[in-house]
């Protein structure tokens, strides 16, 4: 059924088992090209009372069957290969169900090996539940209790340089043994532990953990203090994710048997398709996948790919943590209506404890989108901080670099140089109006100069990422034609002035020769129709003190790409400052909402 080229495939079924929802899509060869044709979704069923991910998968597939008229299932079996209006040629899947891959990492010294272990796990697409170190200030018994209580999917144990002392990392191993931790899923199995520390300690670690855990030994992530070597441990994390976590998660043993390619962690699959897209189109790209439990940020700048996973920034399981990290005022500042603090807090907590509910009122929608702005903003901040000096697969850092990084030196992300921002995840992909998705990203990221924005239409980047491993042609064709929905372009000026002072003058020349122009004053926001597939010449001259990418006060001549929203001219300034007085701020937000037709009247 599987083939490396995917030749001859006419019908492909893909699912993504998210922490909240399982999404299925059908891809068919139509008129010589691959197109995404139908989709279905159902709540993920990895938790009680079902404890079986395949229930949700089957429900989602059944919806595809109902909508497409194609018979895919025979009982609980996926029919292969495709034959007329029956069956599919291949079935592939990604998974972040149950909050994705949850890891605990340990190292001897917090700022050294423990930090390297953290970077390693994050790079592999994991959520780091806790970082344990000999000097983390917790008593031994507290660490042991913590390991037991957290129930991670796996532990990455590092510590010690090769040839250095072994006692501390051995002590950490003893804590793990003493805790005798059980994996989060599949309680009857041994917990995978990766040892990537001092090679001289391997024998002792084997003695201590060999019988109690599923121990895997790999190269030291910090062979010498001045160098990190993250790739071998990261590959082991991916292997163990498939062999242990996936295989032991409720129902996954069955699901693995259905798929024609290895199940990938959702962030890894999204990263694969974003990287391929950026390289194919020669763009600098910033991508975000905001999920229920985590927010993943991806960037490809000058061909260099970086991924970060912001654990506990999400829109359902982690929504309350966005409030905790951002603070109430930061969330309230995006609300165009007045909601009392208690109401805001209760609504957010209720979403946390009942994560699959959807907003039914305008108030609830505005609140979720306000939280999303802050989650996106915080995740980008974390990405910028971690992207410093990272070299993707493997990096070399000196001690001096480590100090530089801690001080927040040079980030790889320069918003003037980002050509395309792609948003993915339910809150963006399922926003009732596309302009809402565009404004959430503009407000959160505050792009500079001219930037194209797009959303993943129905959250299919994970599906396409995993599909690209077996059929790149199908994945790429669908990505370009059906997955990305271009929202349009945003031209934004950096700088500040008094309200009403000129910000920039603009002229838009459309393909048919029509022209539009004017001057935007500071604080202004304008939406100009520029349809999907169209381009327009955009000339703009900023006032003194404002920068559109060419320098302060210097004119720019650009090509603006259209989309389902069009062209947004943003003269609100950068950094974007909102009025401090609540009623004035709400009035301002309502005026901006009206200017871009954000909400129904």
């Amino acid at each position: 059924m599987t083939s490396s080229t995917g030749l001859g495939m006419t019908t492909i079924l893909a699912t993504d088992c998210g922490s909240t929802t399982t999404k299925a899509i059908l891809i068919e060869r139509v008129g010589g090209e691959y197109r995404q044709t139908f989709r279905g979704e159902a709540p993920t069923t990895v938790e009680a009372p079902f404890d079986d991910v395949t229930r949700g998968v089957l429900n989602a597939i059944q919806e595809v069957e109902e909508l497409s008229g194609r018979r895919i299932l025979e009982g609980e079996k996926i029919l292969t290969p495709a034959d007329g209006n029956r069956g599919v040629d291949i079935y592939v899947s990604t998974s972040s169900a149950g909050g994705g891959l949850q890891m605990m990492v340990a190292g001897v010294v917090m700022a050294m090996t423990a930090e390297s272990a953290q970077r390693c796990a994050l790079g592999a697409g994991a959520i780091v539940m806790d970082v344990m170190a000999s000097n983390d200030g917790r008593a031994a018994y507290e660490k042991i209790e913590r390991i037991r209580h957290l129930r991670p999917d796996m532990i990455l144990l590092s510590g010690g340089t090769d040839g250095g002392t072994i006692s501390h990392v051995v002590e950490l191993a003893e804590y793990i043994r003493a805790a005798d931790p059980k994996p989060r899923l599949g309680g009857g199995f041994k917990l995978p532990v990766i040892f990537a520390g001092n090679r001289d300690a391997r024998g002792r670690i084997q003695e201590i953990l060999g019988d109690r855990t599923a121990l895997v030994i790999t190269d030291n992530i910090r062979p010498v203090l001045e160098r990190e070597n993250l790739a071998p441990a990261r590959h082991k994390i991916h292997d163990l994710f498939l062999e242990h976590v996936m295989a032991q998660a409720p129902g996954y043993g069955v699901l693995i048997g259905w798929t024609g390619a290895p199940i990938m962690p959702t962030p890894a699959a999204v990263g694969v398709i974003m990287e391929k897209a950026a390289k194919q189109q020669g763009l600098n790209l910033l991508g975000v996948d905001i999920g229920g439990a985590t927010t993943d940020v991806f960037s490809v700048v000058d061909g260099q790919f970086t991924r970060t996973v912001s654990a506990n920034l999400g829109m359902s399981y982690s929504i309350s943590n966005v409030l905790a990290e951002a603070g109430l005022e930061k969330i309230q500042r995006w609300l165009p209506l007045s909601l009392p603090e208690q109401d805001v807090r209760n609504r957010i907590k209720n979403k946390m404890i009942r994560p699959t509910t959807v907003p039914q009122t305008q108030e609830d929608l505005a609140l979720e989108q306000a939280v999303a702005r802050e989650a996106l903003r915080l995740a980008l901040e974390q990405h910028k901080a971690l992207a410093v000096g990272l070299k993707g697969v493997q990096q070399e850092r000196t001690i001096a670099d480590a100090f530089e990084q801690e001080e927040g030196a040079k980030s790889l992300i320069d918003l003037y140089r980002i050509d395309l921002i792609i948003g993915s995840g339910g809150i963006l992909s399922h926003a009732p109006r596309r302009v809402q998705a565009m404004m959430m990203m503009i407000d959160a990221y505050q792009p500079l100069g001219l930037t194209v924005l797009a959303v993943d239409s129905i959250f299919m980047m994970p599906h396409l990422g995993v599909l690209s491993q077996v059929n790149e042609q199908a994945a790429t064709e669908v990505f370009l034609k059906d997955c990305l929905i271009p929202l349009g372009s945003c031209l934004a000026a950096e700088g500040s002035a008094k309200p009403g002072e000129p910000c920039f003058a603009y002229t838009v020349r459309f393909a048919g020769g029509r022209e539009a122009g004017g001057t935007l004053r500071f604080g202004g926001l304008l939406r100009i129709e520029l349809a999907l597939g169209e381009e327009a010449d955009l000339q703009a001259e900023p006032a003194r003190g404002f920068d559109l990418g060419a320098g302060k006060g210097k004119a720019v001549a650009l090509k603006a790409k259209g989309g389902v929203v069009g062209l947004i001219l943003d003269a609100r300034g950068r950094p974007l400052v909102l009025p401090a007085e609540p009623s004035e701020r709400a009035a301002q937000l309502r005026a901006w909402a009206k200017a871009v037709d954000l909400y129904p009247e």
């Binding site: 922490s19 279905g40 979704e41 709540p43 990895v46 938790e47 009680a48 009372p49 079902f50 429900n59 109902e66 149950g98 909050g99 001897v108 010294v109 000999s134 000097n135 008593a139 031994a140 018994y141 042991i144 209790e145 209580h149 002392t165 006692s167 501390h168 002590e171 003493a178 805790a179 005798d180 989060r184 899923l185 409720p250 399981y317 982690s318 309350s320 943590n321 905790a324 208690q342 807090r345 209760n346 609504r347 907590k349 209720n350 404890i353 009942r354 699959t356 509910t357 959807v358 907003p359 039914q360 009122t361 305008q362 108030e363 609830d364 929608l365 399922h430 009732p432 909400y599 129904p600």
Partner: protein, 379 residues
């Protein structure tokens, strides 16, 4: 077709619960299979290793890590007293001598020639593990602990804070709608698992703490009050280790929400009975919900009953006539009945198109609600 699901919370007058009680590190198991235990019976004990303290000797003495051993006055395994010097330098001028005192009493665990740190470990501390439930030991794990089983009534909450607590059930509200106000909490409630109605506020928390209530079970709380209770914003719903003076279990959600009648009536029927509860919550896969376990005291009935897992209802799709709770605004917390399940997508005021159901309130009023925004109530 997609279904809507309940989160699987259980409220049942009769079931069997089995708890695996394991020491954090190996120790001694004090009970045998078949032995009757109470919630406070110590079933296993161990000595927890003392806290580890690090002392950066090389920084304090201004020496390099590889020469640390030349300056140490103590070796690995040596006992030390708080304030006793563990290392010193040897300057030419004696009065420039610097001594590094031990910050705690304990033993020298290790001396690092890479980082220049010395690890000191405090003496071990004894830990006693209780049975948590009134029940019977059904399995022992040598050196680790035991499983305790009990026939009981079980109420799972939606969210809680605080660890395990044991007390007698007492009612702090006359009906599920009533608030658990400070006035309702009296000295007689000391040591109880106090059941409220729809809400408890921060004044109620203060009074409960003052009186010495062991646990509070209530329909709802307001988040600002939770924040005041914890002293911080709760980010991720992984709880159970908080120490606020009592264990708190909410059965419905945030805000003032009447406790489900079934839950309230079950708890009210158990006044005076001893209950074990835990506020530990984890809202992700491997989900843990807070619980109130009220043993029935029927030792002989234990083996004959079905296990908790066996009686767990499998949830499933909604049907017309099912009783449901709406779990999102604008009708959050209201109980109603499924009146119709239209197949087509419907437009919400937000502009989204979703699958909905028609819900009918007691007064006959009908409203459209997204299927994702309801919970099936156990019949």
């Amino acid at each position: 077709m997609a279904h809507s699901y309940t989160p699987g919370l259980r409220v049942t007058p009769r079931t069997v619960v089995r708890k695996r009680r394991i020491l954090p590190i190996p120790g001694q198991v004090l009970v045998q299979e078949g032995q009757a235990v109470t919630a406070t019976t110590v079933i296993a004990q161990t000595d927890l290793p003392g806290r580890v303290h690090t002392v950066n000797v090389v920084n304090l003495l201004g020496i390099s890590p590889e020469e640390i051993r030349r300056y140490m006055l103590k070796r690995e395994g040596d006992p030390v007293l708080e304030g006793e010097p563990i290392a010193e330098n040897r300057p030419f001028i004696k009065w420039l001598k610097t001594r590094v005192p031990a910050p705690v009493t304990g033993t020298v665990e290790s001396i690092s020639e890479v980082t220049g740190q010395v690890f000191l470990r405090e003496p071990p501390k004894p830990l006693a593990l209780s049975a948590y439930l009134d029940g019977v030991v059904v399995e022992t794990f040598p050196g680790q602990g035991a499983s305790v089983e009990t026939a009981c009534s079980l109420v799972q909450g939606i969210f809680g804070i605080g660890g395990e607590a044991v007390g007698t059930i007492a009612m702090g509200a006359a009906d599920p709608e009533e608030m658990l106000t400070p006035e309702r909490i009296t000295e007689a409630d000391r040591g109880t698992v106090l059941v409220g109605g729809s809400l408890i506020g921060r004044d109620g928390f203060a009074r409960a703490k003052q009186v010495g209530v062991r646990a509070i079970v209530v329909g709802g709380i307001d988040d600002p009050d939770l924040r005041a209770l914890l002293g911080r914003d709760l980010g991720v719903a992984i709880t159970g280790t908080e120490q606020v003076g009592f264990t708190l279990i909410i059965t419905e959600g945030f805000g003032r929400i009447a406790m489900a009648t079934r839950t309230f009536d079950l708890l009210a029927s158990k006044v005076g009975r001893r209950a074990s509860c835990s506020g530990a919550t984890q809202i992700r896969a491997g989900v843990i919900r807070p619980e109130v376990i009220i043993p029935l005291g029927e030792r002989s009935a234990v083996s004959g009953q079905r296990s908790e897992k066996e009686v767990s209802k499998a949830g499933g799709g909604l049907r017309v006539g099912d009783h449901i709770r709406i779990i999102r605004e604008p009708h959050f917390g209201r109980i109603c009945k499924v009146a119709a399940l239209p197949a087509d997508l419907r437009l919400l005021p937000t502009g989204s198109k979703v699958r909905v159901l028609e819900a009918e309130f007691e007064d006959g009023q009908r409203v459209l609600v997204p299927r994702a925004n309801v919970e099936l109530l156990e019949s």
